[in-house]
């Protein structure tokens, strides 16, 4: 029976071309616009490290006190999002998490064997970074603990930079000139692109690519490398590099892997004790205030998805609704125009549910066609959006891809939305009084 309805549906499409194309266009344009925006929102809201996003934590302590700490939009308590050198080294030394890493972004010049120097962004961190964040290695490995204590000039290269510097040979064991100093390559990363770049959403774009090289934190501090990111002070630090390290300026990130709830409680208690001790020592003049956020909580707290994207998706949803209301009206017109046809079918013995099924099949066919149009328009919309982003496309262009899941979602959404909007017109069609229709013929 369904095959017969399908056949009927395809025939009717050809009979009422203008009205049908208007319905398909309304559904397609609505779905296209909504999916263009939704694709970006979906990509931005993804879990960057699904295996352990609930086990990785960022601690926060109240370094600046109630007078100077940042304020939230509605006046809620916000703690400073980064750390001072003093606190971050204390956390590293306490070593209360099985894996932990302090970090900050650095910028260095790379001088290739041939050609002119170029600058690259990198990250100074501890070796736990790689294991904690499940960073894949292509060859070699992270530097050793001894390298960290010795402040050795060693480096882990990103896949792209390694290929650029050593196109014909393995980079591991080779020497790279960074900031005018020779560094020994201990490992080369494989492709790795967590989206968003959750481990640092404060310095630079949260959707930027992963850095091109990683060096030991202790080495970077030893060479007095400044941060390539934010450096915020509540009170003026003492002069010089020593002042940078001893002052109350925040410029470091810190992550800890805490395997279970007990470890989280334990760590939180440590943060409170630490803050209380700082108060006793006369450094903090306020009671302890601490927070411990996992990856999801942290990304939400740091507002990683820009308000613009949310506003856009709301507007696009409004747009889709208008298109669907439009489609309801047009479908109502389409079915009412065929009241006599339904009347004849009812008179010949078709039940109400037969008519209902026939109309629903037609609606589904329209929905599929609308979905295909929507898919094409989504692809077009994403390409246009990418083009309009100019230089920003290199950071967020990757979010504007149509993957199979989004494509399936697009068509499913189109069919679902069309069927929903077809319900009322279909119900109306089944209410046709056969006698009345036949009399009018």
């Amino acid at each position: 029976m369904l095959g017969y309805y399908l056949n009927l549906a395809l025939r009717t499409l050809r009979r009422n071309v203008i009205l049908t194309s208007l319905i398909i266009a309304a559904v397609g344009v609505g779905i296209g616009a909504y999916m263009t925006v939704l694709t970006v929102l979906i990509a931005m809201s993804g879990d960057p490290i699904p295996d352990k996003s609930d086990r990785l934590f960022v601690p926060q302590i109240d370094v600046w006190g109630p007078n100077t700490r940042p304020k939230g939009d509605t006046g809620e308590v916000r703690l400073p999002p980064q750390f001072t050198y003093r606190d971050v080294t204390a956390f590293m030394q306490a070593h209360l998490a099985p894996r932990q890493a302090a970090m900050y972004p650095v910028g260095l010049d790379v001088t290739p064997p041939k050609g002119i120097p170029f600058s690259q962004g990198g990250r100074a961190t501890y070796r736990d970074f790689f294991a904690m964040f499940e960073v894949p290695f292509k060859s070699g490995a992270a530097w050793s603990v001894k390298d960290e204590t010795d402040r050795a000039d060693v480096v882990v290269l990103g896949k792209t930079l390694a290929a650029r510097l050593f196109p014909h040979s393995s980079a591991v064991g080779q020497t790279v000139s960074l900031g005018g100093r020779p560094y020994r390559v201990t490992g080369v990363l494989d492709a790795w692109s967590p989206t968003p770049r959750f481990y640092d959403v404060i310095n630079g774009n949260a959707f930027a690519d992963v850095e091109d090289f990683f060096i030991p934190f202790t080495t970077a501090i030893g060479h007095q490398m400044q941060t390539n990111g934010n450096y915020n002070c509540a009170v003026l630090p003492p002069s010089g590099w020593a002042g940078r390290l001893s002052g109350e300026c925040i410029w470091f990130g810190f992550w800890a892997e805490l395997p279970n709830a007990a470890a989280v409680r334990h760590y939180k208690q440590y943060l409170i004790n630490y803050s209380a001790e700082q108060q006793r020592l006369g450094r903090f003049h306020w009671p302890p205030l601490v927070q411990l956020n996992n990856v999801h909580q942290w990304l939400a707290l740091m507002h990683v998805i820009p308000d613009e994207v949310r506003v856009n998706s709301l507007l696009a949803f409004g747009f889709l609704t208008v298109c669907l209301v439009n489609a309801v009206g047009l479908m109502l017109a389409r079915f009412s125009a065929r009241a006599s046809e339904f009347g004849v079918r009812r008179a010949l013995g078709a039940t109400r549910s037969d008519i209902f099924l026939q109309c629903l099949t037609e609606t589904a066919v329209v929905g599929v066609l609308g979905g295909i149009l929507g898919l094409a328009l989504t692809a077009l919309g994403l390409a246009a959006n990418r083009a309009s982003l100019g230089y920003l496309a290199q950071y967020v262009g990757g979010l504007m891809r149509l993957d199979p899941q989004v494509m399936a979602l697009t068509v499913a959404l189109a069919v679902g939305a069309t069927l929903c909007s077809g319900l009322y017109p279909t119900w109306r069609a089944t209410r046709v009084q056969p006698a009345l229709q036949l009399k009018a013929q």
Binding site: A25, E308, V322
Partner: protein, 406 residues
């Protein structure tokens, strides 16, 4: 006159009328909010930065392996740039308008004021060349003289005796307009005297709209910033920008090759980048609004055509009883105005409500009545146009044809 029969006819076709009104209301709410957001972006993008935008380009310089005397190296670079044919002036600075990154600080009017002080400002470090290199317009007092300039290295805290403010900042701090000669407190508790006021200089961060006051709260300090990561700002003589920009890297490489030159770009590109998101979003919203109006327009045409077709007999009957074409036309236009008008009123209320919600939850700007009023007018006119053709066709129906089946 005709309203009562129209209303009773509408009552028989409730769902269709409700759908059209609903669609118009939603269209209006979305289009008005979209237009208001676009207008905010355009206002921000149109804000002048205060510098001679047409003739300025910038670059980021970084030496490979720190030179022995950074200050000397910077002076050598600047001399090379200033001696390039076609250059008006050049300077090295920590930041400049719309750069995207810079220094923020609090200004105090009393030495012991805490909690951020009177207001926050951005700090630009400039030597004697700053005024000419940026092409700023001095409106009161004077610019820095050579004796005031101090060298400032990274991690230094320098107390400068003098500062130049923008007019907007001077007015905020000293509303009476007597800023020159007054004392403010900045980095340390030593007094800083205001020696001059420039007409306008935007902060490094793009403005959110014309309402964003902080956008012009800039302070210039007589400091020669010395670091191994500097912005060079070069102002060419009128019409020479492209030639100077082309020559500049080679001039610098002639001083030493041990350097990395990044982000060499004319100021127009800096401006484009600063407002890239606003521009992209304006395009997106503009397209959505345009499509929405088109969909609503076509949808109304489609529905009206169907309604008219349904009432062909009624039209024929009225024509046979003496109604003129203009009466039929007027009937459908009045009907459409009633339905669309109801939708427009709902849309104005819904649009303002949505705007209020977004303003409190997402920090967008409040929309003025004017936009939604204009939006309502556009939608009403569009709907009248949409009904024009179907109504005209209906009015042309010969009475004999329409009443034949009766």
């Amino acid at each position: 006159m005709e309203i009562v029969p129209i209303l009773s006819a509408l009552r028989r076709n409730k769902v269709g009328a409700i759908l059209v009104a609903l669609q118009i209301a939603l269209t209006l709410a979305v289009v008005a909010n979209g237009m208001s957001i676009i207008q905010g972006h355009l206002a921000a993008m149109g804000r002048p930065s205060g510098i001679d935008e047409a003739d300025i380009f910038t670059l980021q310089n970084h030496w490979v392996g720190e030179p022995e005397d950074l200050h000397e190296s910077i002076e050598a670079d600047l001399a090379a740039l200033r001696n390039t044919p076609g250059v008006q002036d050049a300077e090295a600075t920590n930041s400049y308008p719309l750069r995207g990154g810079g220094w923020g600080w609090g200004i105090r009017l009393k030495p012991d004021q805490t909690n951020g002080g009177a207001t926050s400002t951005t700090l630009y470090f400039n030597d004697t060349h700053g005024l000419d290199a940026m092409g700023l317009k001095l409106v009161a007092g004077r610019w820095f003289s050579a004796s005031e300039i101090q060298v400032m290295r990274v991690d230094d805290q320098k107390a400068t005796p003098s500062a130049v403010l923008t007019a907007a900042l001077a007015k905020k701090l000293f509303p009476k307009g007597d800023a020159v000669g007054q004392v403010i407190y900045m980095v340390t508790n030593a007094p800083v005297r205001v020696i001059g006021v420039v007409e306008r200089a935007q902060t490094p961060w793009p403005a959110q709209g014309f309402g964003d006051e902080f956008a012009e709260y800039s302070t210039f300090l007589p400091l020669q910033f010395v670091a191994n990561q500097m912005s060079y700002l070069v102002r060419a003589r009128p019409g020479q920008l492209a030639a100077v920009m082309h020559a500049a890297p080679d001039r610098l490489y002639a001083v030493t090759r041990q350097r990395v030159i990044d982000q060499l770009m004319p100021f127009s590109e800096t401006r484009t980048r600063a407002y890239q998101i606003q521009k992209s979003e304006s395009w997106l919203l503009g397209t959505v609004c345009g499509l929405l109006l088109a969909i609503t327009g076509f949808g109304t045409v489609g529905l009206t055509m169907y309604w008219v077709a349904q009432r062909r007999r009624q039209i024929g009957l009225r024509r046979a009883l003496g109604a003129r074409r203009i009466d039929i036309l007027r009937y459908f236009h009045t009907e459409n105005l009633l339905v669309a008008g109801t939708g427009a009123v709902l849309g104005v209320l819904g649009g303002l409500g949505a705007n209020l919600w977004m303003a409190t939850h997402m920090g967008t700007h409040r929309m003025s009545w004017v936009y939604i009023g204009i939006g309502a007018l556009i939608v009403l006119v569009l709907c009248q146009l949409a009904v024009l053709w179907p109504a005209y066709r209906a009015a042309s129906t010969p009475p004999s044809l329409a009443t034949r089946g009766l």
